[in-house]
């Protein structure tokens, strides 16, 4: 029988709420000491159900130490939840102390939290790992009764998920049998997440709170102007988006990247004739700006908000009437969560519009709507734990208390993600932590860990000195970001910080260049002390277009949906006219892709040639394929220069054309053997993986500003380390970790193998005089992968002879006009 004290029930009554069945269920399970994964749709009081059991128990038993740990992937979420939980505690006058602990927490408060922990601590994976690195960790966490992990569906399939699962294994050693409570949106395969959350061999129970509401109403926004061939921002639809904002009380406009957010925000203000309050929200803005926007939205003072996934997680954004998704949805589950933001009333369906930014995205939107109708879901699955994160964890554990490899290995394999890590594999990681694990040169003078010779901890390993501990603590974390510059808008002699921007973008600017940031046009002045200084500009259009920023991969499921859609010419009838025309034109000029064969098109582009493979296998698989095929092209003398990938296809530019004869050579299955090995070794992709792995493993500093100032000399490129290591110790553990990181994060090898085997004899080759209609969205994508090797050097050599070719963009634009 569930025991919910009367005053808690009264509180629900006062709010005009009823205790929902899954909230009651979670309290019941808490009181029985059970671990549970709760899956429930957005906006159903999920987080509160994770806390209720703890709140009741704490107020009844008055425990001394830390009782409940709450882990969420977002700082902002922590603050939001802290506010909500504090509201109940204050209303009921409960004797419960709640505090949050993030990267922003002051040094004084952090110290106090270690000495006198609150009952409930809200934290992020990184901050938790930092807490676990202190000698007090065993004492501090020895009393926990429950760990609540929020947004599991977002975090489990990532290296941050690995951090959490390793932290859970450590906590299990300090306090065996604490409750593990996972909160998640509805996922396609909850059983995998139950395994992930539990100890190895002891998956937690699953409880699903079914969706009771009506299915959402989703449609493509009707516009006067046709959907363009290419683009990310859907400028063509701005006045229609504005019209929807005007009609509704409150609207969230979702985009996929920060730069889309900046651009769309500008476009909206240009047509915002009634000066409605519309704001922008993304993760690069300063905390103050973000907090202000959140507050205004929650209080209902905003009519529109242009936002990235930074607001996707469980934060309460007040009453939202309409959600507009601009750009491709990329995944069905993700789209449903975004749509779930609108209208929290159970009996009224959520209302959402999709605004595809280009013509391929129209197909993707259609496929997503079909899936929503059929109530199908997709989403990421937890993967085997990353070993670079294990390296970080080993050093973390040693900073807290003396360790032995055997004891630590036993602990790590208690995490389901690391259950298959053998002792031999682990030993190699441990050796890396000790001295880098270099076999050709004795490195014992610079060990990070040293073995104790005597005393109680004889035979245990401890950090060699304080500098090692300090450096490790400054570098905890697994999100390896590009270098960031603070953005300061100068005004007279003073100025205001607006947020952060990628260093590489800052470096590409010249004084006077204008660009969008924080919803303003800024004119670049200079970079000084890791700060980009700019002034407000009167210019309406910035000169520098900005395309960078995060990209989301298309889910396998949705890619398949698009492919199926293309098969079915009858389905074209419901497409907008321009899209239908585009596909029909393609069918006349070249051919439409079908399921039986792989369409490959080849055509000249200025002085270069372009070949396109319409694989529909998603971005990652196309990236790998691009790598392999361009290698083979190099071998047979076609001189590839660069390639572009989208979710739908792969385009390769080369000096010589691909022909009907050579195309079979390019797609021969043996590229998966020869080319894969050769190419991987020198590809920029593997270098990127190496950079991530080397940073997480602690070879180089994470790009935080303080470290930059003090240890400037470490900021040289990890590419240099990679090259030297590969030359002199190709068997080194970091190289194999980089390889598996690339396979895990980037390659999608299985998908690719299936495709090549299936289509090797079924290629539809189309030799064309100019780019086909279908190719335009692919080749106009500005994000290209540069290829090392002869092609680039040949091009550089041409540069020496004469200033020649016009820019590729112009050629394509001309082709479009004619």
């Amino acid at each position: 029988m569930v025991k919910i004290p009367p005053r808690f029930r009264q509180w629900f009554d006062q709010q005009g709420w009823t205790i929902l069945p899954h909230q009651r269920e979670m309290v019941d399970r808490y009181q029985k000491g059970q671990s549970t994964l709760l899956t429930a749709p957005t906006g159903t009081g999920k987080t509160l159900s994770g806390f209720l059991g703890s709140l009741i128990e704490i107020s009844e038993t008055q425990p001394k130490g830390l009782h409940t740990l709450y882990i969420s992937p977002l700082k902002a979420l922590n603050y939001d939840i802290e506010r909500n939980v504090t509201a109940i505690i204050d209303a009921l006058d409960l004797p419960v102390r709640v505090e949050s602990r993030t990267g922003d927490t002051s040094a004084y408060r952090r110290k106090r939290q270690r000495a006198r922990p609150p009952h409930i601590l809200m934290t992020t994976p990184e901050s938790l790992m930092l807490l676990l690195s202190y000698p007090e960790a065993a004492q501090m966490f020895g009393s926990i009764e429950a760990v609540v992990i929020d947004e599991i569906h977002q975090v489990a399939a990532s290296k941050r998920g690995d951090l959490i699962t390793l932290a859970l294994a450590q906590l299990e050693a300090y306090r065996p049998g604490f409750r593990r409570i996972g909160l998640s949106a509805t996922v396609a395969e909850p059983d995998l997440f139950c395994l992930w959350l539990g100890k190895t061999g002891a998956p937690v129970d699953h409880f699903n709170s079914p969706s009771t509401g009506k299915p959402p109403q989703v449609s493509i926004l009707k516009t006067k102007e046709p959907v363009p061939f290419t683009g990310f921002v859907a400028q063509y639809a701005v006045s229609e988006i504005m019209a929807e904002i005007e009609k509704a009380g409150s609207t969230i406009v979702f985009v996929n990247t920060r730069f889309q957010a900046e651009l769309l925000f500008q476009f909206l203000w240009e047509v915002n004739e009634n000066a409605l309050p519309i704001a922008i929200f993304h993760a690069s803005l300063t905390r103050e700006l973000r907090a202000k926007t959140m507050k205004m939205m929650a209080e209902g003072r905003l009519r529109g908000l242009v936002a990235t996934s930074a607001i996707e997680l469980g934060i309460d954004w007040g009453d939202v009437d309409v959600v507009i998704q601009v750009g491709a949805p990329k995944g069905v589950s993700r789209l449903l969560q975004r749509i779930g933001r609108s209208n929290h009333q159970v009996d009224v369906p959520s209302k959402a519009f999709l605004v595809p930014a280009n013509r391929f995205e129209v197909l993707e939107c259609e496929a997503a709507m079909l899936a929503i109708k059929a109530r199908q879901l997709d989403g990421d699955h937890p993967l085997p734990g990353s070993q670079d994160v294990a390296i970080q964890f080993i050093l973390n554990a040693a900073c807290s208390a003396p360790v032995t490899p055997h004891q630590l290995h036993d602990l790590i394999i208690q995490s389901w993600s690391y259950r298959s890590l053998t002792y031999e594999q682990f030993e190699e990681l441990f050796q890396f932590v000790i001295d880098g694990g270099y076999v050709l040169r004795n490195y014992d003078r610079w060990q990070r860990l040293i073995k104790q010779d005597d005393g109680d901890t004889k035979g245990f390993w401890v950090p060699a000195n304080k500098a090692v501990i300090q450096r490790h603590r400054q570098n905890i974390g697994v999100i390896i970001e590009a270098g960031k510059l603070k953005v300061k808008r100068r005004h007279g002699r003073g100025g205001k910080y607006l947020g952060e921007i990628e260093e590489s973008f800052g470096q590409s600017l010249r004084p006077g260049d204008t660009f969008y940031f924080a919803g303003e046009v800024l004119a670049f002045e200079r970079i000084h002390d890791m700060t980009l200084e700019a002034r407000a500009s009167a210019a309406k259009e910035p000169m520098i277009p900005t395309y960078a920023g995060g990209q989301m991969p298309l889910s396998t499921f949705l890619a398949e949906g698009v492919r199926a859609f293309l098969q079915d010419e009858e389905g074209f009838e419901k497409l907008p006219k321009v899209v239908r025309n585009w596909l029909q034109l393609q069918s006349r000029f070249s051919v439409l892709p079908d399921r039986k064969s792989l369409l490959v098109e080849s055509f000249p582009r200025g002085k270069l040639y372009c070949v396109i493979f319409y694989t529909f296998e998603g971005r990652r698989a196309n990236q790998t394929l691009g790598m392999l095929i361009s290698r083979r092209m190099e071998r047979i003398g076609l001189h590839p220069l660069s390639f572009t990938v989208t979710d739908y296809g792969l385009a390769i530019n080369s000096l010589q054309p691909v022909t009907e004869e050579s195309v079979y050579d390019l797609l021969s299955p043996d590229i998966l053997a020869d080319e894969l090995e050769e190419w991987l070794a020198e590809s920029p992709m593997l270098k990127r993986s190496f950079r991530r792995v080397a940073t997480i493993a602690g070879i180089v500093e994470q790009n935080n500003n303080s470290a930059r100032k003090t240890l400037k000399q470490v900021t040289f490129s990890t590419d240099l380390i990679y090259d030297v290591l590969r030359k002199y110790e190709p068997g080194h553990v970091l190289l194999s970790l980089a390889r598996s990181d690339a396979e895990r994060e980037l390659l999608d090898l299985d998908r690719l193998t299936d495709m090549i085997v299936k289509f090797q004899r079924h290629i539809e080759f189309s030799d064309l005089p100019r780019p086909s209609p279908l190719s335009l969205p692919v080749i106009l994508d500005v994000r290209t992968e540069r290829l090392p090797g002869g092609g680039m050097e040949a091009l550089l050599a041409q540069q020496n002879l004469a200033e020649t070719a016009e820019s590729l963009m112009h050629e394509v634009e001309d082709a479009l006009k004619s």
Binding site: R510, Q713, S717, V724, L725, M792, E793, L796, A797
Partner: protein
């Protein structure tokens, strides 16, 4: 595709090699700069377990350059060692390799740089402040002087694009009176040529980049 380029600098014909060296045929002189030997072990002291093979790689490449040009003199233009204790940290075999390279040429000059000033070694290494020859001055950092200078210290590199393709590489930076060498060491980073430092160095007479990518070197116009 060129692995080296000849230029005229202050009336002298000089060869810029994509292998990061400068060869002066008239004087049979090979110049390299900023080797930063033992940088990895220097950083390792602070808890960064970098691959300790940078010195080996740097010297192997230097050896190859010496066998290619067979110069009479070899000039290391400063910061040959990453710090004053670097010599002590050299492995015995690598130390021997260094000596072999030096003795393969008639004259081996070590110009002093800011990193290796006061290097602790057991002798046999002679450092000099600068070298003057046929109107050219070789030193680590530039001096205020109207004379043409060949220097190191700044590690010029360039990030640019060609036909829409991104390209990054170490550079020789050259104008009428100044030639700045690229950094030779395996673990040396670079300083972007479009930054304020090079603008100041090339005030009134902009420095032109000769960019190195793979085994190719090419003159580029600095995107203004």
């Amino acid at each position: 595709m060129r692995s080296s380029l000849e230029i005229d600098f202050a009336g002298q014909r000089l060869v810029l090699d994509a292998a990061l060296g400068l060869y002066w045929p008239a004087r049979h002189m090979l110049v390299v700069s900023d080797l930063h030997l033992e940088k990895a072990t220097f950083l390792a002291q602070f808890g960064a377990p970098l691959a300790p093979y940078d010195t080996l790689d740097t010297l192997n490449r230097l050896e190859a350059l010496v066998s290619k040009y067979r110069p009479q003199s070899l000039v290391m233009l400063g910061d040959s060692f990453h710090d004053r204790h670097a010599w002590e940290r050299l492995e015995a075999t690598v130390r021997q390799q260094f000596r072999t390279i030096c003795s393969a040429v008639k004259y081996c000059h070590l110009v002093e740089g800011n990193h290796d000033i006061g290097l602790l070694s057991e002798g046999g290494l002679n450092f000099t402040d600068s070298i003057e020859l046929d109107g050219l001055t070789f030193r680590h950092e530039p001096a205020v002087s109207p004379e043409p200078q060949i220097i190191g210290h700044f590690h010029p590199k360039l990030r640019t694009s060609l036909h829409g393709h991104r390209l990054t590489g170490k550079c020789f930076a050259v104008n009428q009176s100044l030639l700045i060498m690229p950094a030779f060491g395996a673990f040396t980073g670079g300083l972007e040529m479009r930054g304020p430092v090079f603008a100041e160095l090339g005030a009134g007479d902009p420095l032109r980049p000769y960019i190195i990518h793979g085994r190719t070197i090419a003159a580029l116009d600095l995107p203004s």
